[in-house]
């Protein structure tokens, strides 16, 4: 549940936390944006089986969903210094085309009040969190798709 009121200084529900890109550069989480459609934001780790299953399911549908809703996927890895360097070859080895971010000391995870991974959020075009879900079961992608479609159609009606 989100108790958000007039957001004057930022147009996203996401907190502003400095995390890292795969090459070690600083990235502020309030820059997680997608003017073309909804955002699927997933907290995951290379050692988390259900997380990887969820991202595989999203990957299998990514091209279709992108075409239909303008979706952009951000996968935030909470791998710490132990396995952080594993993220780039892991993601490329699977040929995923998501935006990958690193949260090695769980600062963003904590700011989002995430307890366990996988934990995913869907944000609409205006940066509002409209859905979140903890854990993954095969078939959850159907619900994700439903929410994405809804978010995309609401966005379109905003524009008219």
């Amino acid at each position: 549940m989100i108790f958000g009121f007039s957001q004057n200084n930022k147009n996203t529900d996401l907190p502003s936390v400095d995390i890292k890109t795969l090459t070690g550069e600083t990235f502020n989480t309030s820059d997680i944006k997608n003017p073309d459609g909804p955002i699927f934001l997933s907290f995951w780790a290379t050692w988390c089986k259900p997380c990887i299953k969820e991202l595989i399911a999203v990957d299998e549908n990514y091209a279709d969903w992108q075409e239909e809703t303008g979706l952009k996927v951000y996968a935030v890895s909470i791998d710490d210094a132990k396995s952080m360097s594993r993220v780039a070859p892991f993601v490329n080895g699977r040929a995923w085309e998501f935006e990958i971010l690193l949260d090695p000391n769980s600062d963003f995870k904590r700011a989002m009040n995430v307890i366990n991974v996988p934990h995913s959020f869907i944000l609409d075009k205006n940066g509002k969190i409209i859905w979140q879900h903890n854990s993954y079961s095969p078939g959850d992608e159907d619900e994700i798709y439903k929410i994405l479609k809804k978010a995309a159609s609401e966005n379109n009606s905003d524009n008219q």
Binding site: M1, I2, F3, G4, F5, S6, N8, N9, D13, P15, S16, D18, L22, T23, G24, E25, T26, T46, W47, C48, K49, K53, D80, A81, K82, S83, M84, S85, R86, A88, P89, F90, V91, N92, G93, R94, A95, P104, N105, S106, D107, R110, A111, M112, N113, V114, I115, N116, H119, W131, Q132, H133, N134, S135, S137, P138, G139, D140, D142, E143
Partner: protein, 554 residues
């Protein structure tokens, strides 16, 4: 500042902010809640510890408030009583964490409890991990300042949390980082990305020892460099610590050092990874007599692979701060769709090898008759590898989608595990592990997962199976998306050298998830073992009974 006055300040500050605002902007409240409870039934066969209070629960709840540039939060924790396997000094309830923070364009001020990491954490990391029962947050002040684009400075001072109290030492630290590409215009479009950083951390603890002159201020330095170009990422960090006699190193007056090198090369469909880590006398705590997971100032990451399957994780490596040298190699490969091995849907391959040994040590002998205790410890040749094997892991993982309904994973793993060094009991364990995991999706929402695992240990020279011998596990898990799951699992220790211990550890579980709300109930027997995150481990005692977990994010 005591808890009450802190909360009052918090309320007052928010009130003031409200009244200044013309539009009614009340900011945002968020939080989460987690409860884990367990009942403990007597079970002498599996050595389950019995407790008088029958049921125990660990509970946490975070509340955060954000409004514009201001944020604050508190965490309530209750351990009534502390679940077995966690440090019993947690017993009790109250506000375990509170902070307030203000961020302007290039300055961030935080007071209260905070978590921070410099570089890879080799000389400084405060973090929390509820599964390990770790929370070494600093309670103090942190300033972050970005004077120009690409430069970040962090300074902090505080005392470390030790369960419901504080450690005796004061920790002070400074970190600076520069991203050349962001700072210098001529590098903005360069293909090579270079980031340089350095930290200094010092702890102060009064010396009360009547005989030895232990250093009261102990400093540690580290420098790091990260260079990446196209598909290549190279990052390294070197850390050095002045002499720091502690109960970890046997109170020797010796300096410590650490070197970490991570290299990866990857492009679409293929990836390589090499990690190298050498540690020598790098335990660093804000109390020189602290033990187990208490009051660590730094974090020494194990570079071995973290395994997710139960038996692959049965013998996990834990970092050896007093000295270790090791390397980790990994290959990731994606067999394309419609290739010979890839088949219709493609296939993923992952090969991993890691090995960790002791470091070479030559004891310093001051006088051969040992009249004076050896306070210098040893010397160590940086480039030679010690003879004692601590850990070796070779594993191959295959993941394949066979049809629209069926997905499979297969793993083979060979492991050498020096249990005596890592856990302080038994000796060397050699284990072969095999895993087959099938997921069959029989409708668009319903799936059945069948997981088979086997672990076989070698026979020792006396003909007895090593450690607890052989294991077989079968798990059946039914999921109905997006809400329900039910599972039954049995770990059968059929090859235990002691016949009376050939026990079935069965667990029945069910859970319901709705959005970010989750509830799960288990019943059964938990085997004794260790659970590790990032090379830091905690013992999980054997138990028999019900366990309940409830979690919610709001």
């Amino acid at each position: 500042m005591n808890k009450l006055s802190f909360i009052l300040v918090l309320i007052f500050t928010s009130f003031k902010l409200f009244s200044q605002e013309e539009k009614k902007d009340y900011g945002e409240f968020h939080g989460n809640f987690e409860l884990n409870a367990q009942t403990y039934a007597p079970d002498s066969v599996i050595d389950a510890e019995t407790v008088d209070d029958i049921m125990r629960a660990n509970t946490y709840a975070n509340f955060t408030y954000t409004k514009g540039k201001f944020s604050a939060g508190i965490r309530y924790e209750a351990y009534l009583n502390t679940m077995l396997g966690f440090d019993q000094r947690y017993n009790g309830q109250g506000i375990a964490n509170r902070y307030a923070s203000y961020t302007s364009e290039n300055l961030e001020i935080t007071v209260g409890n905070f978590y921070e990491q410099f570089g890879n954490g080799l000389i400084f990391r405060t973090y929390e991990d509820k599964t390990l029962g770790i929370d070494n947050s600093l309670d103090g002040i942190r300033l972050r300042y970005a004077p120009i684009k690409g430069i970040r400075l962090t300074g902090l001072i505080g005392k470390q949390k030790l369960y419901w109290e504080y450690g005796p030492g004061i920790v002070r630290g400074f970190d600076g980082e520069i991203s050349l590409n962001e700072t210098f215009k001529k590098f903005t479009k360069a293909k090579t990305i270079v980031i340089i950083g350095g930290s200094f951390v010092s702890k102060y603890q009064k010396n009360l020892d009547p005989i030895y002159n232990y250093p009261e201020n102990v400093g540690a330095f580290s420098g790091r460099l990260s260079v990446s170009r196209n598909s290549l990422i190279l990052s390294s960090e070197y850390a050095y610590k002045i002499n720091d006699p502690s109960s970890d190193n046997g109170n020797i007056f010796k300096t410590g050092n650490a070197l970490l090198i991570n290299t990866s090369w990857s492009k679409k469909g293929i990836g390589f990874l090499i990690n190298i880590l050498r540690l020598d006398n790098m335990s660093f705590r804000s109390d020189r007599s602290a033990t187990i997971n208490d009051l660590n100032i730094n974090y020494l990451p194990a570079i071995t692979k973290t395994h997710a399957y139960a038996f692959a994780a049965m013998y996990p490596f834990a970092t050896q701060p007093n000295g270790q040298i090791g390397a980790n190699f990994e290959i990731f490969y994606n067999f394309k769709r419609k290739s010979i091995l890839g088949g219709k849907y493609g296939m993923n391959l992952n090969i991993n090898y890691s090995q960790v040994n002791s470091i070479q040590k030559t004891e310093i002998i001051i006088n051969p008759n040992n009249e004076i205790p050896n306070l210098q410890g040893y010397t160590s040749d940086f480039f030679s590898v010690g003879k004692e094997l601590y850990f070796r892991d070779f594993n191959i993982e295959l993941h394949k989608k066979i049809s629209k309904q069926l997905k499979a994973a297969a793993i083979y793993m060979y492991e050498d595990y020096n249990k005596l060094v890592i856990q302080g009991k038994y000796g060397m364990v050699h284990a072969d592990i095999g895993i087959l995991d099938f997921t069959y999706k029989f409708t668009s929402k319903q799936a059945l997962r069948v997981e088979n695992e086997i672990l076989i240990t070698k026979k020792d020279t006396d003909g007895k199976k090593q450690d607890h011998g052989d294991w077989y596990m079968l798990t059946l898990e039914y999921t109905s998306s997006p809400h329900w799951f039910f599972a039954v699992s049995d770990q059968y220790n059929y090859g235990n050298p002691e016949e009376s211990r050939r026990v079935h550890y069965y667990i029945i579980s069910g859970g319901f998830t709705k959005g970010a709300q989750r509830i799960q109930l288990n019943y059964g027997k938990q085997r004794e073992g260790i659970t590790c995150v990032g090379g830091v481990c905690r013992n999980v005692p054997a138990s028999n009974g019900f366990s309940l977990s409830v979690s919610s994010t709001f």
